[in-house]
Amino acid sequence: MKLRPWKDMIDVDMPTMGPITEEIRKQTREQAARYRGGVRVSTGRFWTDAEYKKYRDKVLSTPLP
């Protein structure tokens, strides 16, 4: 493995984030002690893609009073 020169990296895309799944949340929680970012993310307080879509659709399809 060899680190590429930084000038060669300019037109290279960042790694894709990929879908956010329940498995990712589980792994994030398990590795919380090693994570140095926000508490919200490290405690798994984020929407997974499936959850977000399901909950959003449910809220938007519920008629307002």
Binding site: I10, D13, R45, R56, L60, P65
Partner: protein, 228 residues
């Protein structure tokens, strides 16, 4: 479009997105965050870096079209981050308003609160049906339509749309504050309405009893009257 103009648009949209994101995390039903806008902002940074690398001469052999293309892409991702966040905040606001005015059955049991009737809402929040509800419906629908567009950054008037949606969200936030302040008035309306209904029902019973009594009296008079 001059680079300074694109960059100033990106700056404005980025700050507006941040404002929405802070609010959305506070309002979110589960106090969750939504990671998708952050991913878009990562792309914004990436494209600005590419454009700047060419502008500063770090990257040789790149023409004006390359710089322009990357600034445009950065702007597109900034817009998408804004609308992803606006969508999230939009349905979170809808849920909040709905929860206050028409709590779910589980909430009704746990908090001993009752949903407010349409008459109560009309009496205490006169602009709800005429202004707020249509605005909320439009906001949810329009943002979803913008998000569904493939090339979100192509439209010339998106900055106007960003401002308009920010203003609508502010209006809805003001309205939530107004609803929260109106809860005592709505409770009072409910109590008054309950009293009136009870009194009306009591009067109905009294009237029925009077009718029955009067009927019985007539029957008795007829029976006990002089017989031939």
């Amino acid at each position: 479009m001059p680079h300074e103009e694109i960059l100033s648009k990106i700056v404005e949209i980025h700050q507006r997105t941040k404002a929405l994101m802070i609010l959305a995390e506070e309002i979110d039903v589960r106090f969750n965050t939504f990671l998708q806008p952050g991913n878009e902002q990562r792309h914004v940074l990436e494209h600005i870096m590419r454009a700047q690398a060419a502008e500063l001469g770090i990257l040789s052999g790149k023409d004006e079209a390359y710089i322009e293309k990357n600034y445009d892409k950065a702007l597109g991702h900034a817009y998408r981050a804004f609308f992803d966040t606006a969508d999230w905040l939009g349905w979170a606001l809808r849920k909040k308003i709905s929860d206050i005015l028409k709590p779910s059955s589980r909430k009704i049991i746990s908090d001993l609160i009752k949903p407010y009737s349409n008459e109560c809402i009309m009496a205490c929040l006169p602009n709800y049906y005429s202004e707020i509800r249509p605005k909320l419906e439009h906001l949810n629908r329009d943002i979803a339509a913008i998000r569904a567009r493939k090339d979100i950054g192509d439209s010339d008037n998106l900055l106007t749309e960003v401002t308009a949606y920010s203003d609508t969200i502010q209006e809805l936030l003001d309205f939530i504050e107004h609803i929260t302040k109106s809860i005592p008035a709505m409770e009072e309306w409910n109590k008054r309405n309950k009293r009136t209904t009870r009194r009306k029902r009591l009067w109905d019973i009294i009237l029925v009893l009077i009718g029955v009594g009067f009927g019985a009296l007539l029957a008795w008079l007829k029976l006990s009257g002089p017989s031939d």
